[in-house]
Symmetry: C2
Subunit: 228 residues, 2 copies
């Protein structure tokens, strides 16, 4: 593998790890962070630090105000659920309608302009227990769409969708990233941080992260050495 | 057919006609206009007038700055081609990479939040001689993606993609819209209008429109009674 890839970088640990795997495999990276109307901007700040750490060729922050449609706790429509059973099935209220389709489409536009041969996304097995747009069959359908949608596809070299974490658990992701020397202190996962930026520790994202570090037998460096 | 539909409304005559067909078929309409970094804002003004004329439930204008990626004359990257042979094959420089995928994705987000049962897009046979993301097989691939991407799809009622103009020529579109009583004076098609808003008459879009009215045996009311 070589050439460039467009990576969707959220500021969380999954997309950072996916990007680092693409880099290890020989890709130079363009990083795309979408400001989609999140209530909290802390994750966008984290994305900037992660992009710098990865040494990307260029980092674009693109605004698209999905709050105009509403429909998700992540864009201010309802409260962030706390202390929810982690393995509950079903689509949570933090689901942002069509988010990955919108993000992948934007990445596809950049991939086409830049001639990138891959789009990197950090979705994983945990996500697709709840979010329909994280499942492998969804990613395959997007790859097929990309092959029909673009000039590159018409010319026989459509960008592929690279989702290296898709079958990994959170602890496996953390182990892989740690082996690659990643600094997870740069990342931010919480859906509902305090004004100081400190994670709440009670939303799904905080608790999945804490369980991942615990199962990997590692401390979370973003918590400054304390253990939840 | 009944229920609501999200229509992608550009301010041109195709999307206006597609929306009017969906309305005739019993849909109440949500209209989405994407400000994607067009050099000219005249078409966004036209979209507002068209939305008002159609009596839509709500019109959302959403900004997403595709000029950040470059790669199209329509977002200021290179000159708009003029006086080009109209039936030339190949992808013109006015092609905006992944534009329809991005637009349909945004419409999908709104459709999911609002429970709309269809997404309406005005692509047609003329478009897909040059733009890969206007072909029927592309639209089918997006519909499949939508069925996998969304909560509605998981629950067995994915939004369908309604492209009522897909096999029509420009003159057939104009005849249909005229029969529906549409006021094409509200629409704007030119890629490169004068500061006054007056169409240039020489870009592909102006010339396809002029040929469509000529073949339909009608005057273009947007030209104030003059004939090109």
């Amino acid at each position: 593998m070589s050439g460039t890839a467009v990576v969707l970088l959220s500021g969380g640990l999954d997309s950072y790890t996916a990007a680092a795997i693409a880099r290890r495999d020989g890709h130079a990276l363009y990083a795309l962070t979408v400001r989609y109307g999140q209530v909290h901007e802390r994750e966008v700040e984290a994305a900037r630090e992660v992009a710098r750490d990865l040494g990307v060729l260029r980092h674009v922050e693109l605004g698209v105000n999905l709050a105009a449609f509403g429909g998700s706790a992540l864009v201010g429509d309802g409260d962030i659920p706390k202390d929810r059973p982690l393995d509950e099935r079903g689509i949570p209220s933090t689901y942002v309608p069509a988010r990955n389709t919108i993000f992948l489409s934007l990445a596809l536009g950049w991939a086409e302009v830049s001639g990138a041969e891959a789009i990197v996304i950090g979705v994983n097995a945990l996500d697709f227990s709840g979010y329909p747009d994280c499942r492998p069959e969804y990613l395959e359908a997007f790859e097929r769409l990309a092959s029909l949608a673009t000039r590159a596809g018409v010319e026989g070299r459509p960008p592929r969708i690279f989702a290296p974490l898709v079958h990994l658990s959170k602890s496996e992701i953390i182990r892989q990233g740690t082996a690659l020397g990643l600094n997870y202190a740069l990342t931010h996962s919480c859906y509902d941080p305090a004004a100081s930026g400190r994670p709440c520790g009670r939303c799904d994202s905080c608790r999945l992260r804490a369980r991942g570090f615990r199962e990997a037998g590692l401390e979370d460096p973003a918590l400054g050495g304390t253990r939840q």
